[in-house]
Symmetry: C2
Subunit: 133 residues, 2 copies
């Protein structure tokens, strides 16, 4: 019998790495960090596995204007904060508002299944450091 997919140390390292962090690293960041323990890891392998994991719903790809994609191993619905000073992407501990999908669905002739919200502002760290935009 054929499962169609085989495990690999590389893929498992990638998902383990992602699950172990709260920031939302880019493909490049994942690559350079993992390369320390897997010296002949290839950047293409990282991209291929991120796509595969994203396509199978095991991780999420996050997209922001003018920034390269970030990846998140937490696939439960939640919101993000993007710092316009330093570019950091953080989780926001605010309950996902399912009623927004309902409301949107009632106003829209097509089908609404979910929403993705990114808050913009200045992150805790940059505020502490007294940064102004």
């Amino acid at each position: 019998m054929n499962t169609g997919t085989k495990r690999s140390h590389q893929r498992e390292a990638i998902i383990l790495y992602l699950k172990g962090r709260k920031d939302h690293p880019t493909a490049e960041k994942i690559y350079t960090d993992l390369k320390e323990e897997m010296p002949n890891l290839s950047l293409g392998t990282v991209y291929r596995n991120l796509s595969l994991l994203s396509d199978t719903g095991q991780i999420n790809k996050l997209s922001f204007a003018g920034k390269t994609d970030h990846f998140d191993a937490d696939t439960s619905p939640h919101y993000h904060v993007l710092c316009e000073k330093c570019g950091a992407v953080e989780d926001l501990n605010m309950p996902y508002d399912y009623s927004m999908d309902e409301n949107a669905g009632n106003l829209y002739e097509g089908i609404i299944t979910s929403h993705s919200t990114v808050f913009t502002g200045i992150c805790t760290n940059c505020c502490r450091n007294g940064e102004i935009i």
Copy 2:
């Protein structure tokens, strides 16, 4: 005296074009469409002006996972629907919820200034055509 910026037919054509449509075209789409009336328009000029207009707040750059950027001449706060079947980006006629920013600000140690929400689903057209994901 020096204003620092000079008008150009190209830039005015770009913003006029964007204001005249409700979809949210990509740089490439803007370029190919405008090239018909301005045959020696350059793609670099389109990108340069989209950046300039975006930086000065005259238009907005929209970013979606796995898609190239789209541009919107409507800078008032509003929501979008992304069709996961055909990739279309439409406006959603639903009032911008300022209370979300308040709520987020109360829960977050940093500063929240705004939010950007994209609803995902199947657009009116694809629904009409009986498309299933």
